[in-house]
């Protein structure tokens, strides 16, 4: 049985049975990265030495029959927006090209406590701004299913790493769909937990009221296990919610009786690719055959979602990124004439064009005289969107939709038209605006062989239900077993 492509559960049981060591397993993934990543470009940093050391340490403890964590010896790839102590964390930006954090993000501490192996840092859109992983200052990540296409974004590196068999698990972050959309594009499982479920401490902020860290895996069980490890209260994040974390991995295989699957009529709009729509309808048939009830609901404010998101996220970003001023750390221009020029030149050189575009959008929206018309209005509509979902979830357990209206784009397709790229976020941003958990599971392929994802959303803190519903679908379909042929 191959190591590459195996699920997390399979790998763990082989490790536990002593058929495999973590060093062997980690070496296999490191070899895979060495062989394939020059084509995929999923990684920015491969943490070879430390990963092998962690693996050897787990092996030693396992052999000595000492207690080990939930992810003992399993490699996890980390989106380069999550701070790793002593390991470069760049946010795929020239601004932080040499930034080495003096501390671990909360989720990294959780991974270390679970004895996971930190295999490397993955590529992303610069500061998580983008939907294609093309705005990275360092490299363009390719979709393992079609190297001419993007893996989606902004967590494209993490999605591609799992899809290409370079890591069984990965962490991403999701501000407007940045986990679920690339998961769909790469035919892997990706989940965004409820806002507040996972501590944001040590995640470099993009849109603080929307950002959430979540798992990628090649099956729902792997995602459940990784979600369980990273979730939980952390006193260092004031928005982290103090509620017990259910053992997702224990319940994920239990099917849900009387499941009510919702679809929103506002989701069937112009611009939805017919093959993607057909994939969704087929998925609904699968649920029906499993005994679920399909219900149509209404989310009347759906059409405002993109506009609201592209006011709130850039506004917060314009403020969050003000700290990159070249004074204390990060890129500082070599030449400048005075203090203001030092700021302007350092930031001008350090940020790429998509980041600059969003900083300008946000700065404008927060300016005196515009604040009420843009930011404040957006907050009000955000509340209405949240109410739409609250009402919908009184009638349904999960809401099904495509993860994205179209299959993965070609590299460079959106470079001249960022607005078209923004509109692709229509299905995913609602969950961020409303703070809901959402998951994307592989749901098939277009005729051209491009992956399509099924997105399920649930009410706040209903991750357990979400994972079980996703697992029901996964077990009833053949998509999970398919691997990109590189």
């Amino acid at each position: 049985m191959s190591i590459i492509g195996a699920t997390t559960g399979e790998l763990l049981s082989r490790l536990e049975r002593g058929e495999l060591t973590s060093v062997e397993l980690t070496t296999a993934y490191l070899d895979r990265i060495a062989q394939q990543d020059d084509r995929v470009s999923a990684f920015l940093t491969v943490n070879t030495a430390e990963a092998l050391q962690q693996a050897a340490d787990v092996d030693r403890r396992r052999q000595a029959k000492q207690p080990v964590g939930l992810l003992a010896g399993i490699p996890v790839a980390i989106k380069d927006v999550l701070c790793t102590k002593g390991l470069k964390t760049t946010c795929a930006s020239r601004m932080l090209a040499n930034f080495i954090p003096p501390y671990d993000a909360h989720v990294i501490t959780q991974l270390r406590n679970a004895d996971a192996v930190l295999i490397g840092k993955t590529n992303m859109d610069e500061f998580a701004m983008g939907s294609t992983t093309e705005t990275s200052a360092f490299k363009i990540t390719r979709n393992p299913w079609d190297l001419d296409r993007t893996p989606g974004g902004s967590s494209g590196g993490s999605a591609a790493a799992v899809a290409a068999g370079m890591s069984p698990l990965a962490l991403g972050t999701d501000t407007g769909g940045s986990i679920r959309q690339p998961a769909g594009f790469c035919s892997v499982v990706g989940m965004k937990p409820t806002y507040g479920r996972v501590s944001r401490f040590g995640m470099v902020a993009y849109g603080s009221s929307l950002d959430q860290i979540g798992p990628f895996a090649n099956d729902v069980n792997g995602a459940a296990l990784l979600a369980q490890v990273i979730a939980g209260h952390d006193g260092r994040d004031s928005t982290s919610v103090n509620a017990p974390v259910p053992a997702y991995s224990q319940t994920v295989n239990q099917p849900l009786a009387g499941l009510r699957v919702g679809i929103a009529k506002e989701h069937f709009v112009e611009g939805l690719n017919p093959e993607v729509e057909q994939t969704l309808r087929t998925a609904l048939q699968v649920y029906k055959s499993l005994g679920a009830e399909i219900k149509e609901v209404s989310l009347p404010h759906t059409s405002y979602g993109v506009a609201v998101y592209y006011l709130i996220a850039p506004s917060e970003a314009s403020s969050n990124l003000a700290r990159y001023d070249g004074v204390h750390y990060g890129h500082r221009a070599e030449q400048f004439s005075n203090m203001i020029d030092m700021y302007a030149t350092s930031r001008g050189e350090g940020f790429g064009s998509e980041v600059k575009r969003r900083i300008m959008l946000g700065t404008y929206a927060l300016s005196a005289g515009y604040y009420d018309a843009y930011y404040l209005k957006a907050l009000k509509v955000r509340r209405l969107i949240r109410q739409d979902y609250d009402k919908a979830f009184e009638q349904i357990d999960v809401l099904a939709s495509p993860a994205s209206p179209n299959p993965p784009s070609k590299v460079g397709e959106y470079s001249a038209n960022p607005l078209a790229m923004y509109l692709e976020d229509i299905y995913t941003i609602g969950a961020n605006l409303a703070g809901l958990p959402g998951i994307s599971v592989p749901a098939g392929f277009t005729e051209a062989g491009l992956p399509v994802g099924l997105q399920l959303l649930a009410a706040p803190f209903e991750e357990e239900k979400l994972l079980r519903a996703a697992r029901m679908y996964e077990l009833a379909t053949k998509w999970q077993g398919q691997r990109a042929a590189l």
Binding site: P101, P102, R236, L321
Partner: protein, 495 residues
């Protein structure tokens, strides 16, 4: 020159917490070791997040309650955005449109003799984080500026007054009363040298001309680092505005608010260059912090645990201890420790007025002469109270009391100062008042018998002869009250 000066003050007070407002770093004043009291949060490193220090919030609510502010039931944090090297995140976490408190007042005494008071309105008090400190090369050689972030994130309470102050003197009184209150509340040490209390003054003048009132443009004076400088700067600025108006006739609203710095060496205010884009801070709610809701029980607890305010204590002292406005102010204005000292002494000796007199005269004089603080004064209330108690109980005379007081104060070994030592001195020096008039009479009769010449001199009209007689009687009975001795002696002589 007929104008009225109109002043509003913005006071920034560092709250006395052990740790910073949004992280666990120490708030200790430590200018000699820059950037040692820092962490990812107050350095603004990527991914760091603020967590509110509850104690800072408690102190802020306590202060706002004490200055009679309305406490909001819902308050939130906002980001005030501007670029400056001492501001590591590119924004300051502050409070914009929903400060935790608003609409209060502070009463100041504008005449110490009459005790006449005036209420100064408070617009709002809000919490924010302090910035770091920039040090610029002043040699003129163009070296790099340096940034120390030890102070960054220290909790700061900003108290904004209405423009109710009408003279530099009133502004100084307001600051002194506010400082006194804050130190009574133990919410800040208000050390201006260390920057724990900072003040900006908004000043203009109303010129009275032909029954009209003409207002000059508003000026904000910064860099005021002592109460004296606040007073001097306002006096200078009011006069400058009047002269400026005579020259250009500019009135309020004709130009934007100007920022001027006070130059203490030359005693002038100087126009400052405005900060780049300072007009638009792009305030918005900080998404990293949750809003704070305040419950009635919490507020009641703040009110219930409040100490007596200086103003209330002043009034009480006047009534309870029959003090003048002036004397009461002298005690209260020395600070809470001093006032507590007085009350402690009063409680032991049972005579408030006596305690006040002693502490404000004898103790204060010796403190000043010996350069001591009230905390470090060698004779603390338990001992001083017992000395005065003996005076009150007529066991010793006031004069003996002072002798014992000085005797103790001059002890070679200060640790020997105790109540037991008081009685020992009384014993050793025979300071006990002889209350038994029979015994005293016997002594006097004896003295008269032994000094027939002096008696004869006195009876012959030489008044001064009585002095030596009293002296001798006192010598034989150390603790005797001189007045009593004199009275009894004259009575005997008259017989």
């Amino acid at each position: 020159m007929d104008y009225t000066t109109i002043i509003g003050l913005e006071v920034h007070v560092q709250l006395q917490t052990n740790t910073k407002i949004f992280c666990g770093c120490s708030t200790k004043f430590n200018p000699d070791n820059p950037n040692v009291q820092t962490c990812p949060v107050c350095l603004g490193l990527p991914g760091s997040l603020p967590v509110m220090n509850r104690h800072a919030f408690d102190l802020a609510v306590k202060t706002a309650t004490a200055i009679n502010c309305q406490i909001a039931r819902f308050t939130k944090w906002d980001r005030k955005q501007y670029y400056y090297p001492d501001l590591p995140k590119g924004y300051q976490i502050s409070q914009y449109d929903l400060p935790f408190s608003h609409d209060g007042w502070l009463e100041i005494v504008i005449n110490k003799e009459t005790g006449e008071k005036k209420k100064i309105g408070i617009i709002r008090a809000h919490l924010e984080e302090d910035a770091g400190k920039n040090t610029h090369d002043e040699t003129g050689r163009g070296h790099d500026s340096q940034v120390d972030l030890n102070r960054a994130g220290t909790p700061l309470l900003e108290i904004v007054s209405h423009p109710d102050l009408r003279s530099a003197q009133e502004a100084k009184e307001y600051l002194e009363e506010l400082k006194l209150l804050l130190t009574y509340l133990e919410v800040s040490d208000c050390n201006m040298q260390e920057g724990s209390l900072r003040c900006d003054a908004n000043v203009n003048v109303h010129i009275h001309r032909d029954g009209q009132k003409i207002a000059t443009p508003l000026v904000e004076i910064k860099n005021l680092n002592s109460f004296r400088n606040v007073e001097l700067a306002i006096e200078f600025e009011a006069d400058r505005q009047y002269r400026q108006w005579q020259q250009d006739g500019m009135t309020f609203g004709a130009v934007l608010k100007e920022t001027r710095g006070y130059d203490a060496v030359r005693n002038i205010t100087v126009a400052q260059r405005t900060k780049e884009n300072a007009s638009d801070y792009r305030y918005f709610p900080d998404p990293d912090l949750v809003p704070v809701t305040i419950e009635e029980a919490y507020l009641q607890n703040v009110i219930d645990s409040m100490v007596e305010f200086p103003a209330a204590r002043r009034t009480r002292f006047i009534q309870q201890y029959q003090l003048s406005n002036y004397d009461a102010a002298v005690i209260i204005d020395q600070g809470v420790v001093f006032a507590n000292f007085v009350e402690h002494v009063a409680k032991i000796c049972g005579d408030g007025k006596q305690a006040c007199n002693w502490v404000t005269q004898d103790v204060l004089r010796e403190m000043n002469d010996r350069k001591l603080t009230i905390e470090g004064f060698p004779i603390q209330p338990p001992v001083l109270g017992e000395i005065l108690k003996r005076v009150n109980d007529k066991k010793i005379t006031i004069k003996s009391g002072r002798e014992i007081f000085l005797n103790l104060l001059n002890s070679e070994d200060l640790s020997t100062i105790s109540v037991a030592r008081i009685d020992q001195i009384i014993q050793e020096q025979g300071l006990s008042i002889v209350a038994d008039s029979g015994q005293l009479e016997a002594v006097i009769v004896g003295v008269l018998a032994k000094n027939a010449k002096a008696v004869a001199d006195f009876k012959g009209g030489k008044q001064s002869a009585v002095g030596s007689l009293i002296g001798q009687a006192m010598k034989e009975m150390k603790g005797a009250d001189p007045a009593t001795v004199r009275e009894l002696l004259l009575k005997k002589l008259a017989e």
